[in-house]
Symmetry: D5
Amino acid sequence: MEIETFPNPNTERPYVIQHIQEEFTSTCPKTGHPDFGTVVFTYVPSAHCIELKAMKEYLQGFRNEGIFYEAVTNRILDDLVKVTKPQWARVETIWRGRGGIRSVLTIEHCPKGYTGPKAEPFRY
Amino acid sequence: MEIETFPNPNTERPYVIQHIQEEFTSTCPKTGHPDFGTVVFTYVPSAHCIELKAMKEYLQGFRNEGIFYEAVTNRILDDLVKVTKPQWARVETIWRGRGGIRSVLTIEHCPKGYTGPKAEPFRY
Amino acid sequence: MEIETFPNPNTERPYVIQHIQEEFTSTCPKTGHPDFGTVVFTYVPSAHCIELKAMKEYLQGFRNEGIFYEAVTNRILDDLVKVTKPQWARVETIWRGRGGIRSVLTIEHCPKGYTGPKAEPFRY
Amino acid sequence: MEIETFPNPNTERPYVIQHIQEEFTSTCPKTGHPDFGTVVFTYVPSAHCIELKAMKEYLQGFRNEGIFYEAVTNRILDDLVKVTKPQWARVETIWRGRGGIRSVLTIEHCPKGYTGPKAEPFRY
Amino acid sequence: MEIETFPNPNTERPYVIQHIQEEFTSTCPKTGHPDFGTVVFTYVPSAHCIELKAMKEYLQGFRNEGIFYEAVTNRILDDLVKVTKPQWARVETIWRGRGGIRSVLTIEHCPKGYTGPKAEPFRY
Amino acid sequence: MEIETFPNPNTERPYVIQHIQEEFTSTCPKTGHPDFGTVVFTYVPSAHCIELKAMKEYLQGFRNEGIFYEAVTNRILDDLVKVTKPQWARVETIWRGRGGIRSVLTIEHCPKGYTGPKAEPFRY
Amino acid sequence: MEIETFPNPNTERPYVIQHIQEEFTSTCPKTGHPDFGTVVFTYVPSAHCIELKAMKEYLQGFRNEGIFYEAVTNRILDDLVKVTKPQWARVETIWRGRGGIRSVLTIEHCPKGYTGPKAEPFRY
Amino acid sequence: MEIETFPNPNTERPYVIQHIQEEFTSTCPKTGHPDFGTVVFTYVPSAHCIELKAMKEYLQGFRNEGIFYEAVTNRILDDLVKVTKPQWARVETIWRGRGGIRSVLTIEHCPKGYTGPKAEPFRY
Amino acid sequence: MEIETFPNPNTERPYVIQHIQEEFTSTCPKTGHPDFGTVVFTYVPSAHCIELKAMKEYLQGFRNEGIFYEAVTNRILDDLVKVTKPQWARVETIWRGRGGIRSVLTIEHCPKGYTGPKAEPFRY
Amino acid sequence: MEIETFPNPNTERPYVIQHIQEEFTSTCPKTGHPDFGTVVFTYVPSAHCIELKAMKEYLQGFRNEGIFYEAVTNRILDDLVKVTKPQWARVETIWRGRGGIRSVLTIEHCPKGYTGPKAEPFRY
């Protein structure tokens, strides 16, 4: 997996970047039915920022993959942390629901001892 | 009571799962009239995650049961904690109201010494 | 079926009455799963108006009945027209959805030649 | 009943005036419980316009009166038409509901042959 | 009174222009208290369009004038029609209210025989 | 193509059924990028009503098809009219947008001489 | 004053109950004009929970009482604390306003040393 | 000026296409300050449909042009009608405002005798 | 300057009072153009509460005064603190904007060592 | 770069000023396409406050500049801090999105040891 990045234009102070993709879809590994949701990636960059078109295409890659909410949210965080090596990061997924139940998952990557800025939970 | 679970796909870091069921109904034990509400279950899984279809059917089981707001909210938390044994959990019930009064109940299961992530109150 | 009515306090001019019940539930005859929706009854009374408590209890009677959207909407209109014999009437049902699809049904009872007031569609 | 009016400042062309009182309360004649709602009076004045303070006090007069939705809506229209003798008028009452059912009533006073302006239904 | 206009850039087909000023204030001639509201001027131009800065200053001229809702709405329509000589025009005033009652006034200038475009009522 | 239907439970009076699928996706034939939108199917049934699960699966069939907005909206209407043979029908598609431009398409199937009920445009 | 209570079904862990009455009215002791507002009572029960119908009737008792915002909010808290003896409690009153000014009052009953759960401010 | 089109995939029945660009900017010819607004183009195609990317680039062309609201709205309609030769068309521009006044313009291209479908005004 | 107060009915426990005036206007000292905004005064009373009618008239006194946002917000806080001598206070002003820029100012009066209740920021 | 300031009218206590410009546009350095967003500048002034017209013109200067989200947000904070030398400051940029992804950036200027007031994140 390759996701393009570009150099962080200001590495002197930590700051927060949030990307909100409201057009995410994967499929349920049990039923094969499609799932629809919003993916919010929030991070404090170190040396690299994620390139938006690359992130969009990365997320499109799940379109026909059968994967549970819990697994896909963990994997997106792992993948994006691997390419950006951020000071802090969080993935939130907000799902339109199955069987009348909507779901929201929140996973944080917070290296021990990090005391820099974080973002409030996304208000969906 | 049996509620199906599946293995937590990532037990290395704690994270938050929230399921929102906006189609909950039980009945008032005093008047027999139906109550309508939203049930929000939020938890940090340990070894197991709750299966969504199983949770939906569990909640449907209250449809014709006469039970007060306070009792049903406590029971849902107890039942879901028993099957998932989470690191942390919370049940919120938001009721459409009786006699012009709307009600909201919030019950947390927080084992002593837990210092992991929690979720903000649900914004109904 | 008996639904209580009371005399229309003003039979000199036609006017529109709308009752909105946002807490309606029946069950799907195919899957047995519950359906949740809003029932809107709008009418121009003749000699009788429907009593609200009686209408509420009538609608509660569908709670455990297995019936399709199309059938229940037609039946509510038929039943309420039979007891109120209105100059004009309409039932709208707005359903929370099944399998990601929300539905809205609209059925009008409009005797030939009626030229009196009607109500705009309900804005759900 | 006396409700103060003042001369219409422009009797050359018909125009529409709408007054919206969102703080209306009366009581239910059956149960004695209070009802809460919004009263919207819309009219095309002839020689007189209704004075706002007088209209407010007139509506406050229903505070402790036991009266059904249908009766109070008809009476407000009759009373306000009697003092203003408008070219056209309408009263809409939007009630917060009893037993989970919200209600909306719409009564128009439209003299035969009137072809002047009217207002769209109030969007509550 | 002078309100600047400029030539209508397209006199070949009729079209609708709407200007919405949400920062209008005048004073109540009875109590001296300030009134706050929104003024919406909608018209189909003939040879001239109203200049926005001029219209803004014209409306600011009512700031310390004591004038009733009915009178000010009629006067604004008269004044703006006089300077623009439109094919059709309408003024709507939406007031924040006095004594709990909000008001909305709608006055149309429609020359006999006009069959061109009009605008829907403003949704406040 | 086979889409399951069931007999219309009331063929004596025409009435309106609306199904709203907010989880529709297809792909752009030019760029291959996914499109996301809402599909609204509204119709007045003749002898048959469309079965919801069948309709859902029919719409899921476009998931990986490259097709323009204009073509897919026409095709859905053609397909659904073929299986339900309704008295009247309409398809509306509301797209989340490409390049900052959101789009809405509305196509009606209205047999000559039809004078029965229709539905207002969908308010997205 | 007697307000019915019932035994707290779960005294083992503290939890939060919130009752929202949006139909509250009292009168201004200075002008005699009615005041309208919302009363929110939030508490952590000890041995007793407040019965909803009893609370509704208690609040209706202020209908014709002349009392200032500050006094009525303090009194409701005092009265409800006296009957429920909660671990923690709060009353919020949100008023529709007088003379263009809306008001919100918040009074907390927090016994010294209480460290249990509280609720966030009500979002009106 | 060249704006790419593609063949209308269904010329057998008239239907409505609406494109909403919420990121439009031009400049005021008097002050040089930027104007921001939304451009809504709605039409019933004949032989050709407008290509979205081409329309986007056409609208971007106004970015640094000094032009009044009235002129730009007329010109967009003229330009888009010239390239698409539609059965019916309308341009609506909704401006964020200058000096506290927001503006909305609506211009229709309706060939004499056209009786096909139109779209309701855009609800901004 | 004299602003009427009345005795705090409950000096035994600190509590929060918030008054929201959405109809504030002053003028810009540079251009003379009017400014419109909302003024929120929140405080924890000591011995005195501010009388609402007096506060309303005090705020009306700025109607024709030329004063910057920063200055007027500071002055309102100073004036209201002087007459009420509160345990804690805050003024927030939310302005409709000038030249496309909206502004919000927040000034707190917090005597050293104060540890009583405060209110969350006003959500405009 | 010169951005006009004026003396802080109250340097005795720290307070928060927030300016919200919802009409910001720059261009993407990669594609040349325009970006649209909202810029929120929040600060606690020291000796100087930023003049609003100057700030507006400063932000307009980015209209035709090709610059990434990350770079422009950092630069605005640097520039505004340089001219106002505030006790604390923050820039938030909220972008309408590219390729279906909306972005939000938050950069704080917080001198070491600063313990004065801050503002909550902007709720876009």
